[in-house]
Amino acid sequence: MSDLRVRRFYVGGIFLAIFVIIVVKLFLIQVTDSSYKASSENNSQRRILEYPSRGLVYDRNGVLLVSNEVAYDIMVIPRQTKSFDTTLLMKDLGLTIEDVRNRMSKAADYSVFRPSVFFKQLTKMQYAYFQEHMYRFPGFYVQTRFMRKYEKSMAAHVLGDVGEIDQETLDKDTFYVIGDYVGRSGMERYFEKELRGTKGVKIFVVDVHNRIQGSYMNGQYDKPAVAGKDIVLTIDSKLQEYGELLMKNKIGSIVAIDPANGEILAMVSSPGFDPNLLVGRQRGQHFDSLMKAPNKPLFNRAVGAAYPPGSIFKMVQALIALDQGVITINTSFPCDHSIVGCHNHPPNTNLMRAIQYSCNPYFYMVTKKLIQRGFEKSIFRDSRIGLEIWKDKVLALGFEQAFDLGLPAVAKGKIPGPDYYDRIYGKFRWAYSTIYSLSIGQGEVLVTPVQMANLAAIIANRGFYFIPHIARTIGGHAIDSMFLKPVVTPFKREHFLPIVDGMEAVVNEDYGTGGLARIPDIRVCGKTGTAQNPHGEDHSIFMAFAPKDNPRIAVAVYIENAGFGGVWAAPIASLMIEKYMFDSVRNVASEQRILNTNIYQYADTAR
């Protein structure tokens, strides 16, 4: 027992030792370490977040497209507020008493310790008044932030917009606090992590009147904000601007790609809007009216709209047919109007002519040979096998895939396969005769404008493409290497040559459907498309590239409910090519004709 009685000294000793350690530590921080005592009376700190400036955005030639403007928000930390002169605050900010109460309780609901936005984006006058009276509002302070400024009123769909963060994003990413701004659409959203930069913090000493006396411990614990990365886009702002001008009063889209590297030179979606509408205090109001406007001006048709490609899809059929050996360049079918209609044109003596005249019965036959190959006796089984192979080849051309091109909400489009028709008609209950409208790009095939432009680029390159993309450099560094490696399609170069010749004839020879796209001195290769649709007049479509040798631009134009491809889309594509290659347009007559055309019945209300 005496053995255990000794233990009282051990227990007491441990207790005493811990108390001694506490006293020693107290002595260290209270007496020896002077760093805690910085100016003993004015030792209250205020931490102010330093917002980084968001990365700037340039076009491919270094033209500034997006910059920042300073804005001031009034922040409040509910726990630090004392009773204050509400009337003065109301007067300074133009608020009612209910406003003040609502804002205070909203802030307190979020957190009593953490700052939240009390009043957004002060005007200069409000800022001046408030700054003067701030000492009478303990717990309030002014936070500097950056607002976006869109230098040119263009490319709203590409650039996107920046808006206040929503609860969902706030919960997912601890980087943000309530009231922060975050990219909501376009490349502002896609490149949010690159553009946003790193927040800093400044610690200030404040006196008993809540006035800043200076930085805390000479800024030793401050962290500077790091500006976001600048982004250079592939967009050519002149071409973009011109494209938007041409598309005025029309619904649809233009996409232009440099086939040599996949850089998107212009991406127009019409109707558009001025990106500056979605900045500032009127943002909510403008956003609402754009949301409600007819023809969806907020919708980026260039990447988001999946359209029937019409006759430009005949290039795909021809390519696969050559690849599969079901036709040769000299194959000829009569234009017999028996199943699909056509227009009057000279006879199709070979593939090139059929492309030139865009003969529907010819491509009906080409596709029939592709789908019903004679592998099986039953046409139902045979069509299934044929369509399987066909779909595989179509997908190799970038269809039914959402390019990760630097924008959110990119649509995939649709290429129907055997499973799709099985679901509709039942297995082995459909054959080519059921699905033949595929052959001329109608029916269930859906393609986005950017995929059409990419098809033009593949043909221009005679077999390969670069994934279309919107950014050239990010923070001075090259973009992801996946954009720099060519994607090689499984088609032989020689199979592209007759198609290129056909497309050249479309534009440059008599009876070609795209004569309006002709440009003196260069060989434009193009293909018209006219897609029937349930909404009214046919869609007018054109895809092209130029020059024929060493092509510099591939372009797709899609105009909803405008009529023949050769009549509207072809001249627009031609003007885009001319503008890009010569920096000026000589064909003034065609330009005037396009500019003066209004195919857009809501033109006055949406702009």
């Binding site: 255990l4 009685r5 233990r7 009282r8 051990y10 227990v11 007491g12 441990i14 207790f15 005493l16 811990i18 108390f19 350690i21 506490i22 006293v23 530590k25 107290l26 002595f27 921080i29 209270q30 007496v31 370490d33 760093s35 805690y36 005592k37 910085a38 003993s40 009376e41 004015n42 030792n43 209250s44 700190q45 931490r47 726990r79 630090q80 310790f113 913090v201 008993v208 614990y221």
Partner: protein, 475 residues
């Protein structure tokens, strides 16, 4: 009767009562300073916390008086009943309690809130004292150890279920009581060794720690057996295993986490040595190997426990304390601010009501868990020394009082009181100066709050009541 009761009041340890009153008074002054506001200066303003605290203090003194009126035999006779009542209360708070700061540990009756976990400490101490004071009780009996574990484990589990890890942690203080009552020396040391190893495993490189453990094993083996040759052979086995593991890793055969490879090598080394040791009948080696196996297994599990068992805020707090996630704006904010408050007090403090940190609410929970900041800021090192000194004196005096008891029950209960107070004070003050992780437990007698003040008052006064009666109990 009259004379006996008179005797009791004479026999009371008035020194302890005096320290108690001093601490309560100092605590109230600091609460006043912490919530001080120019527009509410009356100390009887019951809308302010210092006004309310006055009521709690008055009630606490009344409680103390009644405790002295009750016969001391009551406490040992009804120990289990009291324990049972509070366990039921702890259980029911899980279902009917109100959630505050993520812990469901409060009963709300009107505007009045009560935290049963505070009172459960007293109940557990009574039950433990009753159980361990039985004549035949010994910590060498498995049954008795199990009994102790049940008595202590029940409230711990119930409080953990309330999501109040801080309050549950306090029961660790009872290890001192068990030590005094005959807990195996080795187990007592092991308890602290495990805590040390847990911290080391978190802050240092685990591979280096494994190597150190192997070396420690061989040194222990050498010291206990003196067999140099065998030790060298064993070391060679481990070197070969380690070499093989390194070869696997750097040869590119197995690119998995190096830590697991090292542990695998270690396990292999232990296995081979184990077989050799058995065949040669070297008993000493087995214990050493077992030590190496268990300790390395423990080291390996630390990451798992830290990442999967501990809650997010607990991880952050431990991480902040050990310095591997410094985030002065986030979790570290409280501690950073609290250190600035205390540090800025200097030698003699800024004076009563003059603390600027205190005044502007820079430290959250300044009147409850972080009340010591106000002491440090306004009274400086001298004031802190007085407060820490008073606590130290009280706790050591309680140990001394406990030792002079004739009844085992009173002694054990006294040790419980001293240990619980000690851990509360050490952890609470420790966290304000960055010595302990931020654990939300109150500073006894100081922190604002009726529950905690009453609970500590009852805890202490019951012991002083037992002590006052010590001459009449022979057992």
């Amino acid at each position: 009767m009259r004379t006996r009761r008179g005797n009791i009041f004479v026999n009371i340890d008035w020194v302890s009562i005096g320290i108690y009153l001093a601490l309560v008074l100092l605590g109230w002054m600091n609460i006043y300073a912490a919530v001080y506001d120019e527009s509410h200066t009356s100390i009887f303003d019951f809308s302010m916390r210092y006004g309310k605290q006055l009521i709690w203090i008055g009630a606490a003194l009344l409680l103390a008086f009644f405790i002295f009126l009750i016969d001391s035999k009551f406490y040992s006779a009804f120990a289990y009943v009291v324990f049972a009542i509070f366990m039921v209360t702890l259980l029911s708070v899980l279902f009917f309690g109100t959630e505050v700061n993520n812990s469901r540990s409060w009963f709300e009756i009107g505007s009045f809130r009560l935290q049963p976990a505070e009172f459960a400490k007293m109940a557990t101490a009574l039950a433990l004292a009753k159980y361990a004071s039985r004549e035949q009780f010994t910590l060498r009996s498995f049954r008795d150890v199990l009994g102790v574990c049940l008595i202590v484990g029940l409230p711990v589990v119930l409080i953990l279920l309330q999501n109040d890890a801080g309050s549950a942690l306090i029961y660790a203080a009872l290890v001192f009581v068990l030590y005094r009552e005959g807990l195996n020396n080795t187990l007592f040391v092991l308890f602290f060794a495990l805590i040390a190893l847990f911290i080391l495993a978190l802050v240092t490189n685990q591979i280096i720690l494994l190597i150190l453990l192997v070396l420690a094993g061989f040194i222990i083996f050498l010291m206990t057996s003196g067999r140099v040759t065998q030790a060298l052979w064993g070391l060679l086995i481990f070197l070969v295993m380690a070499g093989a593991a390194a070869g696997l890793y750097y040869g590119g055969v197995w690119r998995y986490d190096l830590k697991y490879l090292a542990m695998l090598a270690m396990a292999g080394g232990i296995l081979v040595s184990f077989i050799i040791a058995i065949s040669r009948k070297i008993g000493n080696a087995l214990i050493v190997l077992l030590f190496m196996l268990l300790s390395s297994g423990f080291v390996g599990s630390v990451d798992y426990v830290y990442n999967n068992v501990l809650g997010d805020h607990q991880q952050k707090r431990i991480g902040e304390l050990l310095g591997f996630n410094s985030d002065p704006l986030g979790v570290g904010y409280n501690v950073n601010q609290s250190k600035i408050s205390i540090g800025s007090g200097g030698f003699s403090g800024k004076g009563f009501l003059q603390g600027t940190q205190t005044k502007y609410n820079f430290v959250p929970e300044q009147d409850t868990d972080f009340i010591f900041c106000t002491v440090g800021e306004e009274w400086g090192f001298l004031g802190s020394l007085v407060v820490v000194g008073l606590f130290a004196f009280l706790i050591l005096r309680l140990l001394w009082l406990a030792e002079r008891q004739r009844s085992k029950f009173s002694r054990i209960y006294g040790y419980c009181v001293a240990s619980i107070l000690f851990l509360h004070v050490a952890v609470n003050i420790g966290m304000t100066i960055g010595l302990a992780p931020v654990i939300g437990i109150p500073l006894p007698f100081f922190s604002y709050g009726g529950s905690s003040l009453w609970a500590f008052t009852i805890l202490l006064m019951v012991f002083l009541r037992l002590d006052a009666n010590r001459m009449e109990v022979f057992r």
